[in-house]
């Protein structure tokens, strides 16, 4: 896929990230995969944190946009079976890291583009986490091969997205919508869904990935995916300045805390998890729409991780990170490191790839 596509994809994502704030989404949170999955967990009643409960249509848009375009281009295909159970828990760990920083890598870029310097500390942590993950990859880390599956498996997550969409439209009594706080700040449903669909289509086509951009630079010195991240940053920065949202500094940033150490560690956990899983939270959501059931399992793990983060008091807030949160994110880090060591074995390409197309893993 060409350089133009990845740049366009990043630029559009940055523009939509700010426009969605303009249309009602929380400040500096026009799009955040982790926060929005957390809101969905709340909307379904999986956690009871009243300010963050809503079935965010953007996430359904990401999945369905990816589903539709991959179907059209004959790229849709059910595949999976690469350590799915572990991927579930790794998704949980990644979400706990994001709940400590208060955002996924995408929101990190959007926060940075709005002048929030805490996100710069988070970025350093994110790159550090990716660096650790890359060391495991260089040692031969692999969660094993996926296999082709019955097509019904691949339809599970797009169907789940359709059901969520139906629930947010019908709004039955058992679905919870925040009455105040970030969960109550929302762009109109159709605008949010349309933005999600556009992002889903573009990111599926461009393969944009926030973890991949630094990982590829480290492993093969390839800046291709970095153009996407730069596109998000520069377009969001320009629009934030134009709308008057830009405010440079550490203190009093919207839905953020100033605890640098834990901002660093939180996104380091996300960076490590994303590198071991083969993609950032956004990429996992997009892949789940393409029929990748391993990515679908990660998505469900992130949903559960968000519930655990709020039910156990792990999630950070504007006032900082709790002791439980500090313990929680360190446990998540230790778990990911354990998986990294457990699945790393120095192999030559002949052992790993196999001669004569034998499937050995």
């Amino acid at each position: 896929m060409g350089k133009k596509m990845i740049i366009v994809s990043g630029v559009v994502l940055g523009i939509l990230g700010v426009l969605l704030v303009h249309f009602g989404n929380p400040t500096n949170m026009g799009v955040c995969v982790a926060c929005f999955i957390r809101d969905i967990a709340g909307g379904l009643g999986l956690h009871r944190a009243a300010p963050v409960q809503y079935l965010r249509p953007e996430i359904m848009g990401f999945i369905l946009g990816s589903f539709i375009i991959s179907l059209k281009n004959r790229e849709f295909g059910a595949r999976g079976g690469s350590s799915p159970l572990l991927r579930f828990f790794m998704g949980m760990a990644m979400m706990i890291g994001a709940m400590i920083f208060l955002g996924c890598p995408l929101r990190m870029v959007l926060r940075l583009a709005a002048g929030d310097l805490n996100a710069l500390v988070g970025l350093c942590g994110f790159i550090f986490g990716i660096f650790i993950g890359v060391q495991f990859l260089k040692k031969g880390f692999s969660l094993g091969r996926s296999q082709k599956q019955n097509i019904t498996n691949g339809l599970a997550i797009p169907t789940f997205a359709l059901v969520l969409l139906l629930l947010v439209i019908v709004a039955p009594a058992f679905i919870i919508f925040s009455e105040s706080g970030p969960g109550a700040a929302r762009a109109p449903l159709l605008i949010a869904l349309a933005a999600g669909l556009i992002v889903g289509v573009l990111v599926q086509r461009s393969r944009l990935c926030q973890a991949g951009c630094f990982r590829d630079l480290m492993i093969i010195r390839d800046p291709h995916l970095l153009y996407g991240t730069l596109g998000i940053f520069l377009s969001a920065l320009a629009l934030n300045v134009a709308f008057g949202y830009f405010k440079l500094g550490f203190a009093d940033q919207p839905i953020a805390h100033t605890d640098g150490l834990w901002n660093f560690i939180g996104l380091a956990v996300v960076g490590l998890g994303a590198t071991l899983l083969g993609g950032c939270p956004l990429r996992q959501v997009i892949l789940s729409g393409e029929g990748d059931t391993d990515a679908g399992i990660v998505l469900l793990g992130m949903l559960s991780g968000a519930a655990v983060a709020h039910n156990f008091g792990i999630a950070a807030s504007g006032s900082g990170v709790t002791i439980t949160g500090q313990i929680g994110v360190l446990v998540a880090a230790a778990f990911l490191l354990f998986v990294g060591f457990a699945f790393s074995a120095k192999t030559s390409s002949s052992q790993k790839g196999g001669i004569g197309y034998e499937r050995s893993l």
Binding site: S142, S348, K352, E358, R359
Partner: protein, 71 residues
């Protein structure tokens, strides 16, 4: 004439196909045939190969890609 090395990256997650291909190129004097089963893996391998200054030709058979790499 050397026999190309055959590498199977089907089913491997990002970025393993690229790492395996790079290692195989280093170990086999730049003559490798890679079998991949996803568009993303095929695209990434082609981008790697081009950036390293190798030539490649891709053949698509059903859902699989055969990428022949040479100097």
């Amino acid at each position: 004439m050397s026999v190309p090395y055959s590498l199977d990256v089907r089913g491997l997650s990002c970025p393993e196909p690229v790492i395996c291909t790079k290692n195989a190129l280093d170990e086999n004097n730049g003559l490798v045939i890679v079998l991949a089963d996803s568009y993303v893996a095929a695209e990434n391998i082609r981008r790697l190969v081009t950036s390293l200054g190798y030539q490649c030709a891709t053949e698509k058979n059903a859902d699989e890609f055969t990428i022949t790499i040479s100097k």
